[in-house]
């Protein structure tokens, strides 16, 4: 069966520090991969999606970036975090229906 792993689960970072969130999917090949952000009490905002290795589409221009170095690995990065980057980050995958990981809670202080 397919599983998705996302880490770290929680992260507290100072403003201006870098960020790296990682996601891996097991049990499937060539999935579409997604990064969503969920601000407190709000809906789901699509940040990036990828249909293959090295192929990244950005939905929202901001100081975040994404990379897909391997078929089942998706990384969300930032060189300098802003206060507004705080939120709940969700990795997701699909080969048909969309499935989410457990999320990473980022607090920028």
């Amino acid at each position: 069966s397919q599983t998705i792993h996302q880490w770290p689960a929680t992260l507290v970072q100072p403003v201006g520090s870098p960020l790296s969130l990682e996601c891996t999917v097991e049990g499937t090949s060539n999935p579409n991969l997604y990064w969503y952000r969920q601000a407190a009490g709000r809906g789901l905002q699509l940040l990036f999606y990828s249909v293959g290795i090295g192929q990244i589409s950005s939905e929202v221009p901001q100081n975040l970036s994404a990379s897909r170095p391997q078929d089942r690995q998706f990384i969300l990065s930032s060189k300098k975090l802003l206060l507004s980057d705080s939120g709940f980050y969700l990795c997701a995958w699909s080969t048909g229906e969309l499935f989410f990981g457990e999320g990473s809670r980022l607090t920028v202080l």
Binding site: Q6, N32, Y34, R42, G43, S94, E102
Partner: protein, 115 residues
């Protein structure tokens, strides 16, 4: 035209009652309508989904009703239980083939089922 409008924003239901959450869309190309359930601190989990070739789909206590002409769909939770307390998201997409779509989500409904 890409929006999915979800209501109500929050809902309080007594145990054993029926919870009803509504969603409306404009894009007639939308062809797949899933619902997700999210507990605090967890990722959303796919609950139930429907395609417009049927007007209703039932899985246990959860039912999706779909009205294609009105461009509306709703989630009904029968015999609501405290364990159903969560945030529910509706979503829609043109189903363009396996794994190749992006969902448009509603803003979510926070359901509280009180004993």
């Amino acid at each position: 035209q890409q929006q999915v409008k979800q209501s109500p924003q929050s809902l309080i239901v007594q145990k054993g009652g029926i919870s009803i959450i509504n969603c409306a869309y404009e894009n007639t190309a939308f062809d797949y309508f899933p619902w997700y359930q999210q507990f605090p601190g967890k990722g959303p989990a796919l609950l139930i989904a429907i395609r417009p070739d049927v007007s209703e789909k039932k899985e246990g206590r959860f039912t999706i009703s779909f009205n294609k002409s009105a461009k509306q769909f709703s989630l009904h939770i029968m015999d609501s239980q405290p364990g159903d307390s969560a945030t529910y998201f509706c979503a829609a997409t043109p189903y363009s083939g396996a794994g190749s779509y992006q969902l448009t989500f509603g803003k979510g409904t926070k359901l509280s089922v009180i004993p």
